[in-house]
């Protein structure tokens, strides 16, 4: 599988409280509240951290097996993409 890189939509606004992010989507003013794992993925969506590296960090920090971590991460990424909160690229993205 080719490597993938996540980038937060510049249209979002967000804050982190006690390790959990609250992310606003301006298109519909929905507030998305993320758990600790989701927040790790969100904060890693900098355009240059590979998804494989994010999965490895989740396994390390949350004691999850790699297969499950990858499956859950991909499902979470698909959800955030669907909501327009992040984009996925096969190449490293430069900061805007």
């Amino acid at each position: 599988m080719p490597e993938a890189y996540l980038t937060q939509s510049p249209r979002t606004a967000w804050r982190v409280y006690d390790g959990e992010a609250a992310v606003l989507c301006p298109d519909d003013s929905t507030l998305n509240t993320l758990n600790a794992v989701g927040t790790l993925i969100w904060e890693s969506a900098d355009g240059k951290t590979a998804v494989s590296a994010i999965v490895a960090r989740i396994c390390e920090e949350f004691d999850v097996d790699p297969e499950r971590a990858e499956r859950d991460t991909m499902a979470f990424i698909a959800k955030l993409r669907e909501r327009g909160l992040l984009t996925v690229s096969e190449t490293i993205q430069q900061a805007p």
């Binding site: 510049p10 606004a13 804050r15 409280y17 006690d18 609250a22 003013s29 507030l31 509240t33």
Partner: protein, 267 residues
């Protein structure tokens, strides 16, 4: 041709000059904003033109950037106007000189103008008691007017739409003329905000502290803001976040009697 009338309305520390040749519009502004008429140099200028003659402008409220980064078009079924945040000017055409139309436009204008001043217009009742302001947020039917009606020993800032502004970590709550079911304008006063309460009716009075994440999630639906542009929406989000981080927030379940002040005091 009728002469130009200029009236100044001061709300939340922002003074707005309303300029019109229409005597009916001038009369509506004088009556509606009686307690908030002010003197001195205006921060904002609104020019209200002659009525359009009743042609509806837009079915829903539409506020969107139009012709420049600081310029917004504002339309509803009964008015159309523009707001220029850079020039601090606005123009408005009404279908008829109606106080509801002028009031609605003014609410939208203040919701936009206050962003720069780190302020928000909130669906909330607010009251001053013992020198501090208390904000009671909630949608229609949550009890804002009931709380205001039951607080006979408090000064009413608003039973419907309140304004808060943040400066150097301090939050001040202001009275507004934006009234709800009480049909009574708030007082033109301000006080430091000491608590935010998310209201709902219950079988007993109960207060529960909320963390900032939950408070922010509950605050955002109460922010009056119609523009959808990402930069201004993000600015509003961060003001709301600063607000719930600076002021203690609570869930408030209450019965329709003044006993809720007792649980607020003991929380």
């Amino acid at each position: 041709m009728p002469s130009v009338v200029e009236l100044s309305i001061g709300i939340a520390g922002l003074r707005t000059a309303v300029i019109t040749r229409d005597p009916d519009v001038a009369g509506v502004v004088r009556d509606r904003y009686e307690g908030f008429l002010s003197t001195g140099p205006a921060d904002w200028r609104i020019e209200i033109g002659p009525p359009s003659g009743g042609v509806p402008f837009s079915k829903d409220v539409v506020v969107r950037r139009d012709g420049g980064p600081a310029r917004f078009s504002v339309r509803r079924h009964d008015f159309a106007g523009t707001v220029d945040l850079g020039e601090r000017t606005a123009d408005l055409t009404l279908t008829s000189p109606d106080d509801v139309s002028i009031n609605s436009f003014l609410r939208i204008l203040y919701s936009l103008a206050l962003v720069e001043a780190r302020g928000l217009v909130l669906h909330a009742a607010s009251l001053i008691r013992d020198g501090g302001a208390y904000l009671f947020c909630g949608p229609s039917g949550s009890g804002k007017t009931t709380v205001a009606r039951l607080s006979t020993d408090a000064a009413l800032l608003s039973d419907e739409l309140s304004i808060v502004r943040i400066a150097e970590g301090h939050v001040v709550c202001f009275g507004t003329p934006f009234r709800g079911e009480l049909a009574l304008a708030g007082e033109d006063r301000a006080a430091p905000l000491v608590g935010i309460y998310f209201l709902h009716h219950g079988g007993r009075h109960a207060v529960e502290a909320l963390g900032p994440k939950e408070a922010l999630a509950r605050m955002l639906p109460n922010v009056l803001f119609f523009a959808r542009e990402a930069d201004v929406t993000a600015a509003v989000f961060h003001i709301a976040a600063d607000l719930v981080e600076a002021v203690p927030c609570f869930d408030l379940s209450f019965r329709p009697d003044p006993g809720f002040w007792e649980v607020i005091r003991n929380a």
